[in-house]
């Protein structure tokens, strides 16, 4: 465990189709957010180019989170990288700021391997001096459970 979340997932769809599911607001509204959460279509704005924004509102039973994302790197069908800022995240007093990177890779047979990296978490709430210690903190933390 470290301060970033890393998830790799294989989807049974071509790379351009998976990429489009992230950049087409009609599609994003249909799947984004876990069960019980929804992202209203009319709250979504996507301008998928460097400096462009992805904005949306995520609503759930006890939470309403407004997310503003600025794309830092966009390579069509390959990479989406962005700085996210979310207000109203449960357990976080101020706005949460994290980086998100999505890479879309061919996996053969028209499948796509999506690699996600998001973090660092709690950065800015902790201060720069604790940043270097965080990763090893969590390595140690695992041994304590």
């Amino acid at each position: 465990m470290n301060q970033h979340i890393e998830i790799t997932r294989i989807f049974d769809a071509r790379r351009d189709l998976v990429y489009r599911a992230f950049t087409d607001p009609d599609q994003l509204a249909r799947w984004f957010g876990p069960e019980g959460c929804s992202v209203p279509r009319d709250s979504i704005e996507i301008d998928a180019r460097p400096g462009g924004h992805l904005r949306f509102l995520m609503t759930g039973p006890d939470v309403s989170t407004r997310v503003d994302t600025v794309f830092t790197e966009v390579v069509e069908n390959e990479v989406l990288a962005a700085e996210m800022e979310a207000a109203g995240v449960p357990g976080v007093a101020g706005p949460l700021r994290v980086q998100l990177r999505l890479e879309f890779h061919d996996e053969g047979n028209d499948k796509t391997r999506l690699e996600l990296r998001q973090g660092p978490f709690a950065d800015g709430q902790l201060g720069a001096d604790t940043r270097s210690g965080w990763e090893s903190s969590f390595t140690k933390l695992d041994t304590l459970f």
Binding site: A21, V92, G94, A122, G133, S137, F138, K140
Partner: protein, 112 residues
């Protein structure tokens, strides 16, 4: 655990000596001199580390006779780990729905 308390916990964990102290306490309670033994630092320095850990709620301290014993309190560690786990669950849940969405889209194309 509020955000401020979470920051205090992560701050307390951001020091190798304090993490080593916690690892030692995972084996059972210990006195200040027992905790200080493996480290080339003074007892007062160990005491300062223990105060930081106590403020973070990661240990509790009790006096038995003339000895002050420290005991690990694992709950804040689990909460800190759980806080990040929520974000992983967010994506896992979203990707289950994306998977279903892509399958629906694919079968829609085939039937056209």
């Amino acid at each position: 655990m509020g955000n401020d308390q979470l920051s205090v916990v992560f701050g307390a964990l951001a020091d190798p000596t304090r993490r080593a102290i916690l690892a030692r306490l995972a084996d059972g309670e210990a006195t200040v001199s027992e905790l200080a033994a493996p480290f080339p630092i003074s007892m007062p320095a160990i005491s300062r580390h223990l105060k930081v850990l106590e403020r973070a709620g990661l240990i509790s301290r009790s006096r038995s006779g003339q000895h002050l014993s420290s005991t690990l309190r694992p709950a804040p560690l689990q909460e800190a780990a759980g806080w990040m786990e929520r974000y992983r669950q967010f994506w896992d849940g979203s990707f289950d729905r994306l998977d279903a969405h892509l399958r629906r889209a694919a079968s829609g194309r085939e039937s056209q």
